[in-house]
């Protein structure tokens, strides 16, 4: 918890081959990740990759994927970038909120909040 121990960091970067940035187009913390259905996912996937494919059968925001994996966000993003490159997941760019929030969504959000 002190941040002094380099061990976990070394392990985490091992998951990404030392990379700190995902391949390809950048994506947001709440971009929606969806597993592409394939009958035969590659057999050489590491457990973290398989976990992502399992979680994202239901469209799941990046931040939630990180939470499921218990991994830092940018490590998660490298993993997601790899899976996208392999064509195993799609990552949708979220619309800017100002455009995404139309009247209907706004009402839904307000009603949703009141229901809590």
């Amino acid at each position: 918890m002190t941040g002094e121990d380099p061990g976990p960091l070394v392990r985490l970067f091992g998951l990404t081959g030392g990379r700190a940035r995902p391949l390809g187009e950048s994506f947001d913390l709440v971009a929606i990740v969806t597993t592409v259905s394939t009958s035969f996912p590659p057999s050489d996937l590491i457990p973290e990759h398989l976990a992502v494919l399992s979680v994202c059968r239901r469209p799941t925001p990046v931040a939630d994927v990180a939470a499921h994996l218990k991994l830092p966000l940018n490590i998660t993003r490298v993993i997601l970038g790899d899976l996208r490159r392999e064509g195993l997941v799609t990552i949708d760019r979220p619309q800017p909120a100002a455009q995404a929030i139309d009247e209907r969504i706004y009402r839904e959000v307000l009603h949703g909040l009141r229901r809590l």
Partner: protein, 212 residues
């Protein structure tokens, strides 16, 4: 028997969408508590790993982050319905992590700036930041147990707010209170009753340039 508006399959076609709300404010003001009060999940604590390359920050102290470090990021979730989520991100308190705010703020619906009137100055940086970015925000004055009730007008004056951003009193431990804060923000962000009658600058608002 007009079912025109509810064709079968329409709900499935609606793309999944996640909206971001930032919770900012000084250290210890109650950001994590607020997220925990309203989140349907225990606030998820994730640590962002920063490498040298990841640190593109103007650090006025001149201290460069040469080593890998982590910054904690707490977030919570509210499911409005399947495929529509509200995410609350507690912003990192330290100034050297401003660049993370930049990322969090992109596309965000808005922000809640939590204020403690005993240490009001601690929320100035957040207020400045969101004003500069043009991100809608509300100031939520956290009324701790025993703390005196504060007059929002005085808080507004102390913060030098231009009279646009709503100021609400709240108790971050109280669910109804947090709901009120978020509802106020959502209403304000979509141009509700708090809409600013004066447009800031006549910049073209129809640019659909995709983010880099």
């Amino acid at each position: 028997m007009d079912y025109a508006a509810s064709e079968p399959g329409v709900a499935e076609v609606t793309p999944a969408m996640a909206l971001k709300i930032l919770i900012a404010g000084g250290f210890g003001v109650g950001k994590t508590t607020m997220v925990g009060t309203i989140s349907e999940i225990r606030p998820l604590h994730t640590e962002e790993l920063l490498s040298e390359r990841g640190v593109g920050v103007d650090d006025t102290s001149g201290v460069e982050l040469k080593t890998t470090t982590t910054v904690a990021l707490d977030f919570g979730r509210i499911t409005i319905r399947e495929g529509l989520w509200l995410y609350l991100f507690g912003t990192p308190g330290q100034d050297r992590f401003w660049f993370m705010w930049d990322e969090l703020a992109v596309g965000a619906l808005g922000a809640v700036v939590l204020a403690d009137t005993r240490r009001l100055q601690e929320c100035f940086p957040a207020v400045d930041y969101f004003e500069q970015r043009g991100l809608p925000f509300v100031v939520a004055v956290n009324c701790f147990d025993g703390a005196r009730r504060h007059d929002p007008v005085k808080v507004r004056r102390a913060l030098g707010l231009d009279g646009v951003a709503p100021i609400v009193l709240c108790d971050v431990r109280n669910r109804e209170s947090v709901k009120d804060v978020l509802a106020t923000l959502v209403t304000y962000a979509v141009g509700g009753p708090f809409n600013d009658p004066l447009p800031p600058t006549p910049t073209p608002s129809h640019s659909h340039a995709s983010p880099t």
